[in-house]
Assembly symmetry: C2
Homo-oligomer: 594 residues x 2
Amino acid sequence: MSDTAARLSALRAELEKADLNGFFVPMADEYQSEYVPDSAQRIEFLSGFTGSAGFIIALKDKAAFFTDGRYTLQASQQIPADLFTIFDMATKTPSAWLAKNVKPGTKLGFDPWLHTDDGIARLKKAAAKAKAELVPVERNLIDAIWHKRPAPPAAPIYAHDVTYAGKSSADKRKEIAADLKKDGPAAAVITDPASVAWLLNVRGGDVPNTPLPLSFAIIKDDGKVKWFVDPRKLTSGLTKHLGKEVEACDPGLLPDALDRLAEEPKPIRVDPAEAAYWIVERLRTAGAKLDLGEDPCVLPKACKNSVEIEGMKAAHRRDGAALVTFFAWLERNAVSGELTEMAAEEKLAECRAGNKHYRGPSFHTISGAGPNGAVVHYRATPATNRKLTKGEFYLLDSGGQYMDGTTDVTRTIAIGKPSPEMRDRFTRVLKGHIALASVRFPDGTTGSELDALARQYLWAAGLDYNHGTGHGVGSYLGVHEGPQGISRRSKVPLKPGMVVSNEPGYYKPGAYGIRIENLQVVNEIVELSGGERKMYGFETITMAPIDRAAIDIGMLSNDERAWLNAYHARVRENVRPMLEGEAAHWLDQATMPV
Amino acid sequence: MSDTAARLSALRAELEKADLNGFFVPMADEYQSEYVPDSAQRIEFLSGFTGSAGFIIALKDKAAFFTDGRYTLQASQQIPADLFTIFDMATKTPSAWLAKNVKPGTKLGFDPWLHTDDGIARLKKAAAKAKAELVPVERNLIDAIWHKRPAPPAAPIYAHDVTYAGKSSADKRKEIAADLKKDGPAAAVITDPASVAWLLNVRGGDVPNTPLPLSFAIIKDDGKVKWFVDPRKLTSGLTKHLGKEVEACDPGLLPDALDRLAEEPKPIRVDPAEAAYWIVERLRTAGAKLDLGEDPCVLPKACKNSVEIEGMKAAHRRDGAALVTFFAWLERNAVSGELTEMAAEEKLAECRAGNKHYRGPSFHTISGAGPNGAVVHYRATPATNRKLTKGEFYLLDSGGQYMDGTTDVTRTIAIGKPSPEMRDRFTRVLKGHIALASVRFPDGTTGSELDALARQYLWAAGLDYNHGTGHGVGSYLGVHEGPQGISRRSKVPLKPGMVVSNEPGYYKPGAYGIRIENLQVVNEIVELSGGERKMYGFETITMAPIDRAAIDIGMLSNDERAWLNAYHARVRENVRPMLEGEAAHWLDQATMPV
């Protein structure tokens, strides 16, 4: 019997013991953050699937695995088809599956720490349609059978200096407290570890690619904070950094602290889209008045202050120098036809490694040659490791965590001479990128209202891409950060200081992929002569040449050409002082006007 | 004492009698449709205000009048400031006012027929914050003091022939019934008179500018309809037109029919955003299971069938011929400097009057010269009647009701030579118009996602306009029709057959106004070679030249110039056969390529 079969069978024995007919296994830990630590990789343990999006419903006689379009192929390779039926969530939702596959009276268990309050509301609705019942379990049924479960991460937590953060934790706490006082709640339960890290100006290393310490906090409207964090993570000097207003508490004290919030005459803010059901339910059961609403740190965290923006820009200059060094090397080495995706990825890491303040990648590099570039979330492995080949595109999406900022950049490089179709598609993507980079817009405009600007030239040819155009980016924090974005789903007004990516693409399966990604910061436009309205615009902060050999220059308007030349001049001016020799020479060539 | 003072004082005596502390007077009748008949113009009766947007809260010791930016000036001229405080709803909502101005325990009366169910929910929430109470009244307090209240309209109702409607009422009823069966409800209460008119293929004349009969209907999932309509409106032949499945009932029977819907085991669909609170509350009280959701006629009514689209196009060709005849006359007569807005408006009406199938204007013409063009919803009156003057813009927004279609078109004409700034602004508006007219977009795209295309060239200069870019248009029905539109608030996906206006503008108060408006129909794009996705696009159906003298040609891209020339060639081809003499000659000149 395979590991997977044995584990599924053991889980079913646990179902029997717990008097349940099924169990949900989401891709989540109790912090609901983007990266799930090994100790919470229950889907991988149960099914063998190693991707980053998944949801399992295990019943006694069948089991369903749900993922998104990125991972359906990988899932079919990793998960035994006789044990799990694999679904693309876009065509079959867990709710729809439940409606057809569970009988009235079915008892479905769930771990109340691994679902948000909103998520359980949705599942309850779906279960109710099938006349099934949702039952929270005290101990996760997977953990009961997972004998070698890794320990939860406990990376040291250190202060994030105000020279990078731009505002002291004390000032942030004062401002959040004032917001609470104005809005009405007596306290907010902060369940997003990134919000806690921002609020307390601390960083850690509990998850890959992000300097994130996993922890919870409660902030009261007087600015005092209880910080629920594993004491083993605390490093010396942190107490002084935090001051007397922040009390570090053992996470075991959280339940009691939540209960005591019920004594407050004013309501308690908690974010039902982010907080574990367990936390919200504990407050409800204790009789707290709930103010279900957005985590009060989310918006101030998204709107970077001037020190953070200057830091982001400095990090992007250094990151640009590393990229240019890499591209110069690439140009010399790709012609051989022997350079592989993984070797290129390794060289890029080497180019970044020496950079000041560099602490590691901000996500796993996507290094995709030819048809591999068409796989949106591709990860090169020994089995797929393709050579960069003449006449193909090479797509490189990577980023760095610097103590003064986080970067995320994609360039698509023509290896040899691209076909006219490839240049046509590249140019349409570029025109969309430029349209979004140059737009001005009034206060109140959301990303969903700007998304079409980046797609219009592809749409005109009957083409599109199946991902959002942009996501928010943290400041030495998550490379994906809300609430803003540029996509159909981005309904939050863009505000000065927000950083978003601008990354339209085009993907021809089996042939090539194109993506051009810069980060840009929202600025107020002040120099508009004759302007009547307050207008915002974007300032591009990524500093790396866009491959001119991939462009069909004749398709660019004069304004687009001017944008490209001005951007390249700015890249040269910002990055050249850090370079010499081959890289400097390559940059001069790569940034010549078109 | 003025009329207004006497009436407000009489209303307060009624408050006393009814044991109430206040009363709401909305701009609405029991049908919640766009045009309010004279019999329901209670705001005008009480306050003297004649605009189309308003809301009054009359308390015993003070009264507040709310309107939007279009009408604040007019309100201050028509409403005595010592009796009512006037507010712009954009800066002060009735809810916010209530929170500050009513004491705990206040009883606020409302007429349950004049507010939607959603509207009352919002008011209740606002009242609850102020610890006030909402009380429905049996008889409207205004009606009690309105001694010469006009009778409700009772215009004859006639069949709308299938040669115009494109689908028989029987087929429409069959399709709606099938939708209900699929979705679950046993019946739908149709409270929007435009939906009833569409469903039964009938037209009438109860309100200005729209061939709308005011009535309600209930359709069951077997396709049978009870039609609640004043029997005096029924004309001969209607019974035969409607057949045995449609039963005309006296409106007095509606309450009983609603009560009987409570006996259905399946739920009853009613649209809380559209239905009077009275109707929804009657269903609730009777114990009906409610399926609160969209009126099932709204979407099929919006997606015109091929006969309706051909009719719309034919109506627009004839409407274009009338406009060209008018513009030719205008060019000859405006030079004198003596032509007034009202004289021009009258001449335009004359040009349309002779058209085949023409039944009247689709809304009150906006004929605004110079600074009057900057008033978005301007209506020329003897007091404001300006002469068309050299060096100024003349803005003309008008439309016709034809039995085969409804038109709505705005042109901005340069009288003499416009200034460089005027041409710059006109050209930015035109560029936005062209961008929206030419965009292609995938299924699922909403108007809110396309709105920025029309604004981008104004935004680039720090300019904007304070209205949506487009609204849906009915087929020989309301010139404003949902659910689609092009604006920040338009969250409904655009579907083939929908007709929307494309009308960006620019307004410089005290100087000039610009608007360029065409109607366009959503089509599936079928001829896209190399295209990979199903794409939709717009086909412009309005047929009238855009004033080339107002354009700064140098600001247009080659593609924009090509669009303009192709559009003008199409206008000439479609309209020229209907013209001769001066008008034909003018058209030839006006549509020459740029």
